[in-house]
Point group: C2
Chain length 125, copies 2
């Protein structure tokens, strides 16, 4: 029986930190609130279906049933995701009769998609 004396590893007693660096960084960190928003914003791009919708709208404005056709998914799933995209102000829409046309909200969204694409293309060599 080794009876390893159960080190209770005092959580806040870490020795190796660079206190100056930690202070500098802590000082410049945006508020938790902003960082939460930022994460939530990126989360919107982090789903296969939503990325497909955005990539489709990257080319041109489309109505919901066009998107249903392009994605080959059922209308409910598409609408649910459009709601998320709307909520994050990533797409905008206009109504015309019964139909609703969606398009990318602004150029930030375009840039983000392009930057992301660039990154993964590089990764793939």
């Amino acid at each position: 029986m080794t009876e390893t004396k159960k080190i209770p590893r005092d959580i806040c007693q870490i020795q190796c930190v660079h206190p100056e660096a930690v202070d500098r960084v802590k000082d410049k960190m945006p508020s938790q609130d902003i960082l939460m928003n930022l994460a939530d914003f990126f989360k919107v791009f982090g789903d296969h279906t939503r990325i497909r919708i955005l990539t489709a709208l990257y080319r041109e404005e489309l109505c919901v049933c066009d998107l249903v056709e392009v994605l080959g998914m059922n209308q409910s799933a598409v609408s649910h995701q459009l709601r998320v995209l709307r909520g994050a102000k990533v797409v905008k829409f206009r109504k015309q009769g019964k139909m609703v046309y969606y398009s990318l909200d602004d150029d930030h969204v375009r840039e983000l998609l392009r930057d992301g694409m660039d990154h993964i293309q590089e990764e793939r060599g």
Copy 2:
């Protein structure tokens, strides 16, 4: 009893599509494979803890226990998330003795973080 004649809504019989637009868009869609990678890439940014790590590293290189200090989280949680960030090539690292120093991988990551930040700042007015 209204006996609503249970319309079996033939999935592929949507009338309203703009077939030309749909064709144009379908034609230019990247492969499912690429879009999956893209979504997975953004997914990495879509988490509060990981965004906090990236924001910290935005300023300067830090070792794991610095990050533990900055985030006020336990070491295991931080390591788990660093693994995800490494896997997506969003951070790079160098070993020095027992310690491992992390930093942002490249300028795409910086740009993405900045673009994202710009977007949410605008949203907030």
